[in-house]
């Protein structure tokens, strides 16, 4: 099972590189925020897998909880700011 989890971790790390294109070359600022949100939500699975690989899942899951809260609040705050501010990046 450890080799399987290592393979899935490497696969998700490669998958996380794909939305960086949308983060760098998005036409509007909303596309950049969308790419940042997708990368942040994939980081949750990656952190849990790293916790299982290190054998310290009890410690890493608390980090995952805090990270999911921070990601959600960050995207909501950016959406509120962009709703008030405008389209210009």
């Amino acid at each position: 099972m450890n080799g399987f989890l290592t393979g899935v971790t490497i696969f998700i790390t490669i998958i996380m590189l794909i939305p960086f294109y949308r983060l760098v070359a998005g036409p509007t600022i909303f596309d950049r925020m969308l790419g940042a949100g997708v990368i942040g939500s994939k980081t949750l699975v990656l952190l849990t897998l790293v916790g299982f690989l290190y054998g310290r899942a009890d410690m890493f899951i608390d980090i995952v909880i805090a990270y999911s809260l921070l990601n959600f609040i960050g995207v909501i705050a950016a959406a509120k700011l962009l709703e008030r501010k405008g389209l210009e990046p």
């Binding site: 996380m16 699975v45 959406a79």
Partner: protein, 100 residues
């Protein structure tokens, strides 16, 4: 090795791949927010459920299920907030008549 956990994790990885490709491939911001709000959420939910099944009956599994339920509630809300901000700022949607 648990077959159910492996199947759930592989299904989650498939839906995460579909979400990433949708974010990079779809033509418009609103359709890209579909890729974030639906397939990425399903991939996260299936992956975290598979990891909870792999962990077994412990307190940590309950915490992983808590994170999975919270993400399944929060990720569509974030996607909807971004799409609403874009709509109120009058970002033009992709249509057939203004296709480049």
């Amino acid at each position: 090795m648990n077959i159910l956990a492996a199947l759930l994790i592989l299904g989650g990885a498939f839906f995460l791949t579909v979400g990433s490709l949708g974010v990079i491939r779809l033509p418009d911001f609103y359709s890209r927010s579909h890729a974030m709000g639906k397939s990425d959420t399903l991939g996260l939910f299936l992956s975290l459920l598979g990891l909870a099944v792999h962990n077994g009956m412990r307190v940590d599994s309950l915490k992983i299920l808590l994170v999975a339920v919270f993400v399944a509630l929060a990720n569509p809300v974030a996607s909807h907030a971004l799409a609403r901000a874009a709509f109120r700022k009058r970002l033009a949607p992709w249509m057939k008549r203004n296709r480049p």
